[in-house]
């Protein structure tokens, strides 16, 4: 493998408290040296002047649809979309067909990802068999096959006793339990319950549905000592609960999607029932979105995760209440984060990189999120000032379901290296 010297870029690596112009030498796919004015023989040189160099981004929450729904996305197309978005590691949810609730499916995903050879793909295993919420899945066997976390994403585990057992069991296998927090009081809802659901005559999903489940999970984390990760947090009260849990040093973390800090429920009205504004959790009201911004600013939120949810156009070009939930997110996350958080002054560059890279790596304890000496040379290089226009027709993902098509934003992923190999070139 050829060696690589990345010259003159602005290195931002919160894991080592680095924020300045540095050169990076990569040997054999790993970080060999970081310093000023490095030189080495027999290396490719990459000029990164004017660009930010960060540890490769990590997405804790994507849906790759393979096996079973390859018409929406495959592991390969999803991993390609990840690279286009600057993500060198992605964690895929188990709601495939069949569900990733056993080692055979886990191995299949690992194998397919390895064949694709693009971004690193870490499977998340189901908590319960078939994600039916009735009995535990073969958690230990899946762990051996490569899962990094557990979740019944999309279907919260309603049975508290079962969730308690899952956490107790998961703890011994050192797996975080990720919950899509949605209590039954949101059942049948299609958007946030509030002014706009009332106005539009759409069935609401109250923020309360999230809060109740977050509160329960935090209490279970306290009881069991398991690591609990709240997926796509969107409600102000839920965020307060996480903040309070962290203050008490409970093993609780949370992630937020770019759409939940960018859009409000008013969007459903403004776009006249555009189904690309339909997702779960739903776009919340302004009060909630402002609370999310506070959580990003004060450090309560650990990670930005996309909840990349590809759907075929046929599943979205339907009546609002019949259309599928979810939007793609891998290829818009960096631009939205840079534009809405960095340039808006919500976070500085260090915190931004932490949210996209180090933070998520910490949450799942992945070998990622750092460019310290000896670590994997997964590197994302981006230009925070480049102006871009989002064009869904250019997505690497198989699906185009985004509410951000045509948006003009700042922030462009320019190069991505995985294990020292350049996998994306702008």
């Amino acid at each position: 493998m050829t060696n690589l010297l990345i010259k003159s870029g602005h290195l931002v690596d919160p894991s080592q408290n680095i924020d300045g112009i540095k050169d990076i030498l990569v040997r054999d796919g790993r970080i060999s040296e970081i310093g000023d004015s490095l030189s080495a023989d027999d290396t490719e040189v990459f000029d990164a002047s004017g660009l930010i160099i960060a540890p490769g981004f990590v997405d804790l929450h994507v849906h790759l649809r393979e096996p079973g729904q390859e018409y929406k996305e495959t592991i390969e197309s999803g991993a390609r979309a990840a690279l286009a978005g600057g993500f060198t590691s992605i964690c895929c949810m188990p709601n495939t067909q069949p569900v990733n609730d056993n080692a055979a499916v886990t191995s299949y995903i690992v194998e397919r990802a390895s064949t694709a050879g693009l971004a690193r793909v870490y499977p998340i295993g189901a908590i319960t068999a078939g994600s039916r919420g009735e009995a535990l899945a073969e958690i230990g066997e899946m762990k051996r096959a490569g899962i990094v976390a557990l979740s019944d994403d999309g279907r919260a585990v309603a049975d508290t006793n079962l969730m308690r057992r899952a956490m107790e069991y998961a703890r011994d296998f050192d797996l975080p339990v990720v919950d899509h927090c949605q209590d039954s009081c949101a059942t049948g809802g299609v958007m946030h319950e509030g002014d706009y659901s009332a106005l539009l005559g759409l069935k609401g999903m109250p923020a309360l549905a999230e809060d109740i489940q977050v509160a329960r999970d935090i209490m279970l984390a306290e009881l069991t000592g398991a690591r609990v990760h709240i997926a796509h947090i969107s409600s102000a009260r839920s965020l307060d609960l996480v903040r309070e849990a962290k203050a008490r040093s409970l093993p609780v973390t949370c992630e937020i999607t770019p759409h939940h800090f960018t859009l409000t429920d008013e969007e459903v009205h403004r776009r006249e029932y555009d189904t690309n504004t339909k997702m779960a959790p739903p776009l919340r009201s302004r009060t909630h979105v402002e609370a999310m911004i506070d959580g990003l600013r004060d450090g309560t939120i650990d990670a930005i995760a996309t909840d990349h949810a590809p759907h075929h156009a046929n599943e979205k070009m339907l009546e609002f209440d019949r259309a599928a939930f979810g939007i793609v997110g891998l290829e818009t996350a960096l631009s939205l984060s840079v534009d809405r958080l960095l340039h808006a002054g919500v976070v500085n560059i260090t915190r931004l990189v932490d949210l996209l890279s180090c933070g998520p790596a910490r949450v799942f304890r992945l070998k990622a999120g750092t460019l310290s000496k000896g670590s994997l040379a997964d590197i994302t290089i981006f230009d925070p000032n480049a102006e871009i226009t989002i064009d869904a027709t250019k997505f690497k993902s198989k699906s185009r379901n985004t509410p951000f098509d045509g948006w003009k934003l700042k922030g462009l992923v320019s190069s991505v290296f995985v294990g020292g190999r350049q996998r994306l070139k702008e």
Binding site: G194, D195, Y196, S197, A198, L199, L200, G201, L202, K203, E272, Y273, N314, M317, L318, E319, F320, D321, R322
Partner: protein, 312 residues
């Protein structure tokens, strides 16, 4: 003068001037129904499709009569006979109908927003005949016409809308329209059937929309009382315990109506559940304008069809 819009999707987006234009036009057309020959040539050669995905007797008949009195060719498609049962999507159905060059498509659908969706893909004027719990604009307009005929106008009127506001497209269309025209709308019913928050969004109105603390508060000195139909399935949905209890606590009877003004008028969009949301002696009593509403429905729909599909 035609309306300067392609579609009528809700009263929400109508300006007071547009609403008044529709009502004035409807007033002119109401005379046609009293003629010996109930037909004018206004829309001769125009094609109007009534696309009904939900059962409806009154609204569909009303639209059909309106089209026929204007000499338009109208075609009825109901969900049971349409290709929806074969798995065709709404958008495909709409595009196929568009390919036959209709001038207007009147649509009723159980999903809120369905008319908005097809309006984006067809050239024909789309008229919302009721979508989910969102709007039923021609019902709002015919209610407004009925009120205007009796009260002379809308400014300062207290209008009580009572019942299942949460699921009611009639309540929404009326709240938007009547508040825009200067009335004060009071919503009441069991708390389980009240959508909260919605009054805050009605900001550009001359009048107002608010939630009453109780049915009696809404009825006190009301000029207009509009009772909403209660759907039987709401009982199994856990919104209230029983029809009997509903009728005792939220039904309109003669005694309760005494709280309203002496010259109150009582409206109901139909079909009426006698003895549930309204007693027969009120529904058939001297204050009731339920049949006037139905009569005005034809005139309002003639006006809407004319104003939207009548352009050159």
């Amino acid at each position: 003068m035609p309306l300067l819009r392609k579609d009528l999707l809700g009263t929400r987006e109508l300006s007071p001037q547009e609403a008044t234009l529709i009502l004035d036009t409807a007033d002119n057309f109401s005379e046609v129904g009293r003629r010996q020959i109930k037909k004018v040539p206004t829309l001769r050669g125009k094609t109007i499709i009534n696309l009904f995905f939900e059962a409806s007797t009154r609204t569909r008949t009303s639209f059909e009569i309106a089209a026929k009195r204007l000499s338009a060719d109208s075609i009825n498609i109901s969900a049971s006979t349409s290709s929806v049962v074969k798995g065709e999507t709404l958008l495909d159905t709409a595009r196929n109908l568009q390919a036959m060059d209709p001038d207007a498509i009147v649509i009723r659908h159980s999903s809120s927003g369905a008319p908005h969706m097809i309006a984006k893909v067809v050239d024909a004027s789309v008229i919302n005949a009721g979508d989910g719990a969102n709007e039923h604009p021609t019902q709002g307009l015919l209610d407004a016409l009925t009120i205007r005929q009796k009260k002379g106008g809308f400014a300062g009127l207290k209008v009580a809308i009572i019942g299942d506001v949460l699921h009611s497209r009639v309540a929404r269309s009326n709240a938007h329209l009547l508040s825009k025209l200067g009335s004060h709308v009071w919503l009441a019913g069991p708390r389980t059937l009240m959508p909260f928050g919605f009054e805050k969004l009605i900001s550009d109105a001359e009048g107002s929309v608010r939630f009453a603390g109780s049915m009696d508060e809404a009825l006190d000195a009301a000029d207009v009382v509009m009772m909403l139909r209660i759907q039987l399935e709401r009982q199994s949905g856990g919104f209230f315990p029983s029809l009997k209890e509903y009728s005792i606590h939220f039904g309109l009877n003669r005694r309760r109506l005494e709280r309203a003004k002496k010259d109150v008028i009582v409206l109901h969009p139909g079909p009426v559940n006698r003895g549930v949301e309204i007693d027969s002696d009120v529904a058939d009593g001297p204050f009731s304008l339920i049949l006037d509403q139905v009569n005005n429905g034809v005139a309002v729909r003639m006006a809407v069809l004319y104003l939207l599909a009548g352009g050159e």
